[in-house]
Amino acid sequence: MKAKNIFLALAGLAVAAALVVFILPKKEADIVEIGVFLPMTGGVASYGQMGWAGIKTANKLEPTVLGKKVELILVDEKSDKIEAANAVSRLIKKEKVVALIGTSTSGNTMAGAAIAEEAKVPVVSPTATDPRVTQNRKYIFRVCFIDPFQGVVAAKYAYENLKARKAALLMDQAQDYCVDLANFFKQEFISLGGVITASTFCQSGDQDFTAQLSSIAATKPDILYMPNYYTEDALVCKQAAELGLKIPILSADGAHAPELISIGGNAVEGFTFTGHFAKDGATTELAKKYIQAYEATYKTEASGFDALGADAYFVLIDAIRRAKSLEGPKIRDALASTKDFPGVSGVMSIGEDGNARKGMVLLQVKNGKFTYLTTINP
């Protein structure tokens, strides 16, 4: 009985706390509220945290719009689809935000997209690269390029610049993003006249890739394309070096994390990948200001995930300014007519389809550092 009483008391306290917070008046007239939903905890928390750092930095650089102070409201989506949908619903219905930024992964962005679409609240995603995120949606936008473009660019680079004719694939089949990229690479590479010698698979969290690498080595490809995340990429490079497989390895934006070099060490020298952002390749005025502010606050190098978070914020603020309104449909129209916006990760235009048209950078690991090779424009 006693236990039950304590329990009831606890439950009562929780309800009371909730009531207090729900009732507390907190709206001020001169603020613009922007909702941010990101994975701050859970499986891909590091992406969410990098994105949030970028958004906060951008907010510091441009704290007002239309003469009002911009206030960011962050809701954690726990790297979970159900939570992502709840987060979007909460931000729109309860916090009544004018627009949303989020989230890091495609699947979770899609889980929230239907709700935002129905409420006519625009969403700008920093890093959801799946083409289906914006398909048949009027209110969903992104500031990153989409997977097909990345796969196509990688295939062209392999075929034309590296003169590769035979390519092998190694993809993480637990990640839709990796499978998607590999497929787009495959289509483009074949249509250019190349041959795919081997399609092999791994799973996120795998440690041993020697079986896949041996079967790849047996087909003697000119290049290995593996658009996976940094942990797997680093381990594959190490084991390829141990097996004596000496072919160029090409990857994608998921590889762009300092851990790639700390895990891979010498084995990732010469490792090349397509990415969203390279510090040395950043040319715009905004990028310079941003990198300075970011590195002063966080004492680490600016990278893709935070730069795109910042771009999502800048693009949205720019659209609100041009719309001269805080109404969803008007912001939406302004976003859809974004033209040659000089963002942190490059100059971009956004069309009616919600996708950003912008350049892609090619990076290579040299002397234990990410170095900028070139920018490829669509």
């Binding site: 006693k2 236990a3 039950k4 304590i6 329990f7 606890l10 439950a11 929780a14 309800v15 706390a17 909730a18 917070v21 907190k26 701050m40 905890t41 409201i73 962050l74 809701v75 954690d76 689809k81 159900i82 949908a85 709840n86 619903s89 909460r90 729109i92 219905k93 309860k94 699947g107 899609m110 889980a111 239907a114 709700i115 129905e118 409420a119 289906r132 089949q173 637990a174 990640q175 839709d176 990796c178 499978v179 998607d180 497929n183 799973q203």
Partner: protein, 358 residues
């Protein structure tokens, strides 16, 4: 005399139950009409988890068989019903790596039928698994079912011509609303409660207390365990289908062990074996998770500004779990059920604190 009294009480209890259910459903109807989308979302979430937890509780709590497969059941149900309700056109757009195999690619069924088939398919899978699974007892059962959960996830990842692999299914129609989800929850609770109260239920409880003893008094333990497992799987599958049509996009990652883990927390907090407990705890956990978001928001208390810390609610949630385990080791309800008799006695004892004649 005693018997007639009992019968009268039963009639009274039934009347009370019916009235409360009606009042509750009416309140839900009001919430649906006048609540915001956010509030109805949370309520739908509650309903789905109530259904899943109550059905999981049947095998885990009531029968005392430590199964860890509800994530697998929900996955099978979700995929089955989603594949049935998606239009052929939507399927063609979704399956970009490998096309969907033939009969599935043209089938297009109404929601209710897809849910029933989802339940049946899941129950059938559980039935097949039951043969080897119930040859083992105790910890082994947990390991086998845990393995089954992984198998389903790996199959979902690799059988690309059926499940679309890691890409998952997108563009599932959003059929699940208040009526569907709460209809599912109420029906599940009602049927499972009735099952537990029946003679089958007595046998299931006997198995929980002592399997060997119940065998000795003539309970066919294998058959009864099978029954509990398949029924539990049926509702788990239907719940998965409802869930899929609620989030409208599913992928193998949604059905990891964490789903099982969440449901396990719910039934342990509620009290293993108590349907009432499972309902209360499902409410607490889903609603609580949302209410606790407060602690992650920046707060102003007086002049003091506390910045929001993401992940804070998980910390508080864990603290609450620990408190429950310290002060109510058998969960909120233990293995008790709510009964009107108990409630009325409670009310009367409040009215007559000196403990009258009753």
């Amino acid at each position: 005399m005693e018997l007639r009294n009992n019968r009268k009480m039963n009639r009274r209890d039934r009347l009370l139950s019916l009235t409360t259910t009606a009042v509750f459903l009416f309140l839900l109807f009001l919430a649906d009409r006048f609540g915001s989308d956010y509030e109805t979302r949370i309520l739908i979430n509650c309903a789905i988890f109530i259904g899943l937890a109550v059905s999981y509780n049947l095998i885990n709590g009531v029968t005392g068989q430590f199964s860890l497969a509800p994530n697998a059941f929900a996955a099978i149900g979700a995929y089955t019903s989603a594949l049935l309700t998606m239009t052929p056109l939507e399927k063609e757009l979704s399956f970009i790596v490998k096309p969907l195999i033939w009969p599935l690619s043209v089938i297009h069924a109404p929601f209710i039928i897809s849910l029933l088939i989802a339940g049946l398919v899941t129950a059938f899978m559980a039935f097949l698994m039951g043969f080897p699974v119930f040859r083992v007892r105790g910890d082994y059962l947990a390991i086998v079912t845990l393995g089954f959960g992984e198998v389903v996830r790996v199959v979902a990842n690799n059988a690309q011509s059926i499940t679309n692999g890691p890409l998952g299914l997108k563009g599932i129609v959003n059929y699940t609303d208040m009526a569907w989800s709460w209809g599912f929850a109420v029906i599940t609770v009602f049927l499972i409660y009735r099952l537990v109260q029946s003679s089958y239920g007595l046998a299931l409880k006997a198995i929980r207390y002592d399997e060997t003893a119940s065998e000795a008094v003539g309970v066919d333990t294998f058959r009864h365990k099978m029954l509990a497992f398949t029924v539990s799987a049926f509702f788990g599958g239907v719940g998965g289908g409802i869930l899929a049509h609620f989030i409208t996009t599913i992928s193998p990652n949604l059905f990891t062990f964490f789903l099982t883990f969440n449901l396990l927390i719910i039934i342990v907090i509620g009290g293993l074996g108590s349907t009432t407990g499972a309902v209360i705890a499902a409410f607490m956990v889903t609603l609580g998770g949302e209410l606790l978001r407060v602690v992650e928001e920046p707060l102003f208390i007086g002049g003091l500004h506390i910045p929001g810390i993401p992940g804070m609610r998980m910390v508080i949630f864990s603290l609450i779990l620990i408190l429950v385990m310290i002060f109510a080791r058998h969960g909120i309800m233990g293995s008790q059920e709510f009964s009107w008799r108990w409630a009325i006695e409670k009310v009367e004892s409040f009215r007559r604190p000196k403990g009258g004649d009753a």
